[in-house]
Amino acid sequence: MQSMKHSIKHQKAGSLYATFERKGPGAKSSHYCPGCGHGTVHNLIAEAIDDLGIQDRVVFCSPVGCSVFAYYYLDVGNIQCAHGRAPAVASAIRRTHEEAIVISYQGDGDLAGIGLSQILHAANRGENITVLFINNAIYGMTGGQMAPTTILAQKTITTPAGRTAANEGFPLHMAELINTLQAPVFIERVSLGTAAKVMRARAAIRKALRYQTKKKGFSFVEILSPCPVNWKMTPVEARRWLENSLEPVFPPGNLRDLPNAAPAALGAPGAPGATGVSGATGAPRVPGVSGAPGEPATPGAAEPVISQKAATKSERDILEILGANSEPLPTGTVSLAEEQNVKIAGFGGQGVLSTGILLANCAIAEGLRTTWLPSYGAEMRGGTANASVNISHEAIGAPIVSQPNVLLALNLPSLDAFEETVRPGGHILVNSSLVPRQVRRGDLHAWYIPATDMANALGTVQIASVIMVTVYALISGAITIDTLRRVIPLSIKRKSLVDINLRAIDAGVAWHRQECCQDFGRPRLPHVSVAGGTAPGATSEEPPVASSQDPSA
């Protein structure tokens, strides 16, 4: 037992849970194999989190691999990321949570295999995150297959005779690869081969995290780690092999350390790496990067001065490019009777998703809160697609709409699929050109709009969804027609189509006027109505419409 004089010098970190319930109530051991490097690194991370006092700020992004269960151990914010995507998830957290300390923890299959794109782009953006890369040169969780970092002649179950360059290529050197990028501020490779090297790994992890707390930018620590089970060695043999075979291929050491890097700031012209490029010697840190001092400029290549010009475009210029510099968009003119949970459904290619974006953008222009969430099959065209749009005065909890109060059914399968999900008293807007049946339910409002026929008469069937949204705007009052007209030019990529979309709005307004509002207050209803009658705003929001438009012609 501890004597009165002795004090604890090293103990289990406070950032680790007291017990690990996944292994059974009160379990104290990890799920890792004996001698696994993951536990050692977890301990180092937890200690660093304790010592830096950042436990409440840390978001730990665990990968796919054996460490997928890191969230059972580390008592911090945790996200378990899709395979390879941890740096992308970490970037999102970085951009949305200013005070978060974001750790992306990945293995070699995760980071250097499936997630190679994510790590390079996150590093290249210089996200202020810390990436810890566990390189054990093998796929551990799946049972010992060759990894991108498997060294030549190393035997795995998919390279039983040893990896050969001719057949499987060379091992990927991730730290060196990251070091070709300008943005990172700290890149180091460490090893768990001996106790002394573990202490160096400890120092690197602490430094990387400290840099993040100072908002210096992207830090990357590659940790050579043993996988005794899949290497088919004892834990002690594995560490010896790590030192004698792995380290010569992946030499440990610091590749970059920019302690004086300016805190990363969005929009700043010079990334931290740019500081490094113009070192004391004038030699570029990253060879071959154009614009670095001493590099011959390629004739005709884009020079930095051009990008600076682009960067100094004023907001007004950008608005002019977007065609939106004339008048400010209206805001705060709409008062919703109830939160709008809209489902727009149809074939892929009917403009379902883009119509959803249009609706959401209009809601933003109205000063409302909104979300847009697409759902679609693998096909670009002809498959089914639907978009969920929420519009509210309040913060919106979840973007998905499972029980809409408004359904825009652009085809029959959509009506079949979603009719039963609409809440009683809600609205179903049916594209009657393509839907040959009536709405079966009697406890909601049904509107039959020959949108595809109307659109075809105007010249293209693709604007049917805009007609539908126009009618929805009129019956719900969630957005005004004026807003719709202003937002349409901003939403459409091909400017030649702006005019026909505006005419689609006119057609929708004309249809609504003709079919619903001939007798104010007592509409000649093309829809089945429940007791209680008309939708909020049915007659109050209608703007004047050009009389020359005749959609049914």
Partner: protein, 78 residues
């Protein structure tokens, strides 16, 4: 525990998987793998030789969570 010793460690048998990394890490050869078997079926490590200098290398090398705790006497002035 002999309070005359500057430092010592405690190994929790229930957490140890007997990987022996601490045995290799210890510069004073204080740790051995015992013959007893714990509930997980591993022969766990034991603090056997009392020459501990409190360096913490076993602690940092250990892949388990909280299997090793290091105790030491406060330095002068603390």
């Amino acid at each position: 525990m002999d309070s005359q010793e500057k430092s010592y460690i405690e190994i929790d048998p229930a957490r140890c998987k007997g990987c022996a990394c601490c045995v290799v890490a210890c510069p004073k050869d204080c740790i051995q793998i015992g013959s007893e078997i714990n509930q997980m079926g591993y022969q766990f490590a034991r603090f056997a030789v009392r020459q501990c200098i409190g360096c913490g290398l076993c602690f940092y090398t250990c892949p388990e969570f909280g299997a090793i705790t290091v105790y030491t006497l406060p330095r002068k002035g603390e």
